[in-house]
Every structure is written in C-alpha cells, then in structure tokens.
C-alpha cells in the first residue's frame, strides 16, 4: 500500500495550503460536489467541443457548398446535395472504398491468425516467455510513418534486405521481386508491414483472453476425456472469442483510417492500385483543395465507420452475453 501521509505530492500540497490565506482555501476547496464535478469535467468538454465538435459541424456545413480553401476571394455557393451525389456515383471513389475494404479484410485476417497463434504459443509458458513477448511487442509501439518509410528501403528490388531474403529462400532473382512497383505485389507490401506491426497487438489481447479461461474448465474436460482439439474448439476458442472480436474492432477502425503507411510506402500507386479512401481524401482536400467536396467525403467516411462500429459492438455484446 502507498503511504499517503509522507508522499512528496502530499507534502507539497500541504505546503501550498499553508501558504494560501485560509478563507480563500475554504472558498476554493469547500465547493459542493456538483460544482466539483462540473469543474473537473468542464474543461475537457470545452476542449472537445472546440477541437472536435465545432469543426465537425463546420465540415457538415461546408459539405453542402462548393468552397475551396485555396480560393479565399471566390464566392461560396450552396450546391445542396450535389457533392454527396457526385461522390456516391463516382466509380473511382467506389474503387478506393473497395481497396480499403480489401486491406481491412486481409490485414485483420492475417493479424488475427498470427496474433492468436502467437498468444496460444506464449500461453505454453516456456522459460523466458516474458522476455520474448516484450521483444515481439516492440514493433507496434513505433511510429508507423517513420518505420513504414524505412520499409521502402527494405523493399528495394535489388539492394533491399526483404527482396534479398525472399530471393535467398525462393531462388527468384532479387531484381524481379518488385514489391512496391508490381501491381499485384504492391497491396501485399502494405499488408505485410501492417501485419508485422500489429500482429503483436492482437496477440496481447488474445493472451488476456486465453488467461481469462479458468483452469477448472480444462480440468473438467480432461475428466471427460475430451481430445485436445475438441478442448481447443469447444473451450479455448469460444471463451477467447470476445477478446478476439475486441481486437478485430480496434484493428478494423484503425485500418479503415490507414493513411501513414500507404502514403509513405506506395503513395497509392502503382496507378491507383493501393489508393485507399484516406489517400483519395487527402488528394481531394489538400492537393486539389476541393474543400466542400472533400468535407462531404469525410462525413460519408465518418458515418460509415461509426455505423459499422456500432453494428459490430452490438454483435460483440451479444457474444459476450452468451
């Protein structure tokens, strides 16, 4: 237990209290609970209103106009729902959405399989597993932008370590392993880095799930002579499922927003092969400066994430209750 009497913070507080006129102390410290509650929560709410909510409404407003942020002198006209109509009927936007969905699907599939596999292995509790777990966790703490940028070097067809390693294993000449420039390989180049970074994340959550399964269930299964595979399918997997689903939720939201890594690895290329929604949005908003149009796109994306996440959370709660 922590000794509250002698903690340095405490002593500092007492020193402050002593040096303040006692009437003021009473007035400030004697606030009612209601006041304290608002005093404590208020500043955060004000900040969120100013930095999140107000801009959100501004964006909603802009999404009905033809405003361009790089033309301050031009009149802003209301265009009604035209921006939304244009986005939803633009085949390129739908291709970008499909690309995004593909990424989300493959990264989550791979990360769940690898992450759960790692967690299952670590749960064998061999000697030194804590140390190796920490090592495995390192990639996910790093900046996706800074590390993703370096992967561009690893992917270089000839001089890059990745191409060299793959050619060493497969015998394909390293000049032919063009991860970033080959149309069919480029999406995988991003999926590989994302999986490398975030499988540990899924692993950590799955590990918590595996550890939450009480031993007596397995003991009972042993008594029933259930085979290990049966135990895995009827105990381990279902009991860990809420955790796996939680991991999928977090990764899904993150990967839907994916920007850093794609921007630095392929920039959306070759052609538009890896152009995910965030990249399209960035091009519209900060290169073409179609602010009204891109605001509408941003709102559509927000509604999509919010809606999908809500449906998913409902499913998650149902699984939890089972």
């Amino acid at each position: 237990m922590i000794d509250t009497k002698t903690s340095p913070l405490n002593r500092a507080a007492e020193a402050v209290a002593r040096s303040t006129p006692s009437r003021l102390v009473k007035r400030v410290t004697g606030l009612s609970d209601r006041m304290v509650a608002w005093l404590f929560i208020g500043p955060t709410m004000v900040l969120l209103l100013a930095i999140n909510i107000f801009p959100l409404f501004w964006a909603i407003g802009l999404s009905f106009t033809n405003y361009r942020a790089n033309r301050p002198n031009e009149p802003v006209e209301s265009v009604g729902l035209r921006n939304y109509e244009r986005i939803l009927t633009d085949p390129d936007i739908w291709i970008a959405m499909q690309t995004t969905a593909n990424f989300v699907f493959w990264t989550i599939l791979l990360q769940t399989v690898i992450g759960f596999g790692l967690a299952y292995l670590i749960d064998r509790k061999f000697r030194g597993h804590a140390f190796w777990t920490t090592i495995i966790l390192v990639p996910m703490m790093l900046s996706p932008a800074v590390v993703g940028n370096f992967w561009r070097f690893l992917y270089e067809p000839q001089i890059g370590l990745f191409a060299y390693a793959v050619s060493f294993v497969s015998g394909i000449p390293p000049t032919e392993i063009e991860m970033l420039s080959n149309v069919s390989l480029a999406p995988w180049s991003i999926i590989i880095v994302d999986t490398w970074m975030w499988s540990p994340y899924v692993m950590l959550i799955c590990l918590a799930g595996l550890r939450s399964i009480p031993d007596y269930i397995y003991e009972a299964a042993e008594v029933d002579r259930a085979s290990p595979i049966r135990q895995f399918l009827s105990i381990t997997l279902p009991m860990a499922l809420p955790f796996i689903m939680l991991a999928i939720l977090f990764r899904g939201i993150e990967n839907f927003k994916m920007f850093d890594m794609v921007n630095l690895l392929t920039g959306g290329g070759p052609g538009s092969t890896t152009e995910v929604a965030s990249i399209t949005l960035k091009r519209e908003a900060f290169e073409k400066w179609r602010t009204g149009y891109s605001s509408a796109f941003a709102i559509i994306l927000f509604v999509a994430v919010f809606g999908l996440a809500n449906i998913y959370v409902k499913a998650l709660n149902r699984v939890k209750q089972r």
């Binding site: 999140n52 801009p55 090592i135 561009r152 550890r211």
Partner: protein, 316 residues
C-alpha cells in the same frame, strides 16, 4: 495484467513447451530484424548501404549521423582545396566525398518540436483527463455514458477528415503551423484515451478512502488531492506514457497542419534526401534517434500495455 506469473493450469507438456519456445523465439528474431537493420544502416557509409548483396558485416562509419545534422553541396576538388582546412570530424568526412557542409540541417529543430509538442500535449491531456476521469468515476454526471462514448468516438474519425476543418479553423485563428495549435489538437485527441484509462484506474481505488478522509474533515478537493491522486500515480504515469507515445508517433496531422515552424520529426524524417533519393544512412540515423525513447518506454510499460492499447477495455 501480468506476463510472468504462471497460474496452475493443466500444465503444458515439455514437448509442447519446447515447440512453442522455438516458434516464438524464431518469430521474435525475425520481427526484430527490420529494427536491427535500421540500426546497422545508420552506421553504414552511403555506398555500403546500397551495396548488393546487402552487407551484414561492414566498417562502421558515422557519416549517416553527420549527414543527418548537416546540409551539403557538391563542389569541385579545386574549390574544396581553396577552403581553409576542415575544422570538425564531419567536415572531413564530407570533404572526402567532394562536398562541403553548407549549414546545419533542420533535423534538430524538428526533433525539438517533437519534444515540445509531445510533452506539452501529454501534460495537458493527462491533467484534463485526470480531472474528468475523477468526475466521471465519482459523481453522477447526467448522460455520463453518452458523454463517455462521445469522447471515445472522436478517435474514430480518419485523421485526414478531422484535419480539413481544423486547417480552416487554425487559419482563421492564426494557429497554422504553430506548436500551440498542435498541442491543442493532440491534447484533444489524447484526452479521450486519458479519460478512459484513468477512469478505470480511479474506479479501482475504493471510495471508502475518500469518504473516510471527508469524515475526518477534508473537503472533496482535499480528498481528491491527498487521497486519490497519490493512489493513482501509477495509472497516471502509464496514461502519460501512452499519450506521449501517440503524440510522438503521430504523422497525418503533423504532415497536413505544419510546414516548418512547428513540424515534428515523423513528417520530416521521410524527407531527408541526399543528392538523389533518400539518403538511407541519414534516414536510418534519424530513425534510430527517434525510436530510442519509445523503446525505453515500451519496456517500462510492458505490464500496462494491454490496458493502454484497448482504452482500458481489457484490464487483466
């Protein structure tokens, strides 16, 4: 949660332990290779860094670090001969490549910006987050669940979508490309994490402690200050480090909302170029310097990691 303590399960057999150990160690080693490669590349000369086949053994050189901190221009041998003798080690290295140092690079100011913005926003987010978390934990706040969910939902927006109106707002307020603007923005993003995490930590502190203190004549604020805060320091420290890591690593906002004065290291490092494309040893050197603090924090935090990455949803 704990990764070390073994609970008495149906104990796995020795063979399955061995297989698991081999697989995990193999995975860990492979997954750490890219990071080791970054570190190794930072000590290579530019020709060594792009040698084929990739060089695993090489003569270490600090040229990458010299290049990281300077800008250089290629000149003729005659021009270089006309200059006064080299004064520093980096000068010498540079001149060997028929170049002269023209001035310092922008890496150092960008790194300082990263420090200012990351620490500044962490301080604000944890300060606000602690207060709000206490409020949500101890008081009946009307619509508390909705407010908490609203706080969380602010993190679901793609950063580019958030950046559009923020860009316009900051332009009007004169906050574009300013450290203050970035601190405000990162605080707003981080405060949601801070509130959720800290609420969990504060929920775990029994209310009885404060109630006892208040019976002893403490006011609510005094009880918060003298009883709750000291008990929550571990949670606050863990939260602070999570906020710090987010702000330190953030790329999209920094790339779109800053251009020089307040630009942080992540959007800067990918733009370190040599005479042609990226100067990989210099990039690796910058990356290494940038990653070291995070490595230290990851090791410090390893037992709190799970809680941090799930917004406190998974505690054990």
């Amino acid at each position: 949660m704990s990764l070390t303590t073994a609970h008495s399960v149906v104990v796995p057999s020795t063979t399955s332990k061995r297989i698991a150990a081999v697989l995990i160690v193999a995975y860990a080693l492979i997954s750490i290779v890219p990071l080791l490669w970054i570190f190794a590349t930072s000590f290579k000369t530019p020709p060594d860094s792009i040698a084929y086949p990739p060089k695993i053994l090489f003569q270490p050189s600090t040229e990458g670090y010299c290049n990281l901190f300077t800008t250089r221009t290629r000149q003729t041998a005659e021009y270089i001969a006309s200059l006064p003798p080299a004064t520093s080690f980096c000068d010498e290295v540079t001149r060997k490549r028929n170049m002269v140092i023209a001035g310092p690079s922008n890496f150092l100011p960008r790194f300082v910006n990263s420090l200012i913005i990351a620490f500044g926003s962490t301080f604000c987010a944890v300060f606000l987050g602690t207060l709000a978390a206490y409020g949500f934990s101890r008081f009946k706040v009307p619509l508390a669940d909705d407010l908490l969910f609203f706080i969380l939902s602010t993190r679901m927006m793609p950063p580019i979508a958030v950046a559009i109106p923020i860009y316009l707002m900051y332009r009007e307020l004169g906050l574009s490309d300013s450290a203050l603007g970035m601190i405000l923005l990162y605080t707003a993003v981080n405060v949601s994490l801070a509130v959720w995490l800290l609420k969990g930590f504060i929920d775990e502190i029994p209310r009885e402690y404060e109630e006892a203190a208040m019976i002893d004549g403490y006011t609510r604020l005094q009880a918060f200050w003298k009883v709750v805060l000291p008990q929550a320091t571990t949670g606050i420290a863990a939260t602070a480090i999570f906020c710090l890591i987010f702000a330190w690593n953030e790329y999209a906002f920094a790339a779109l909302l800053t251009s020089g004065t307040a630009q942080t290291a992540p959007p800067f490092i990918p733009t370190i170029i040599g005479e042609g494309g990226q100067d990989w040893p210099a990039v690796a050197a910058g990356t290494t310097i940038f990653l070291v603090p995070i490595l230290v924090f990851t090791i410090l935090l390893r037992k709190q990691l799970l809680r941090g990455i799930t917004f406190g949803a998974v505690r054990k």
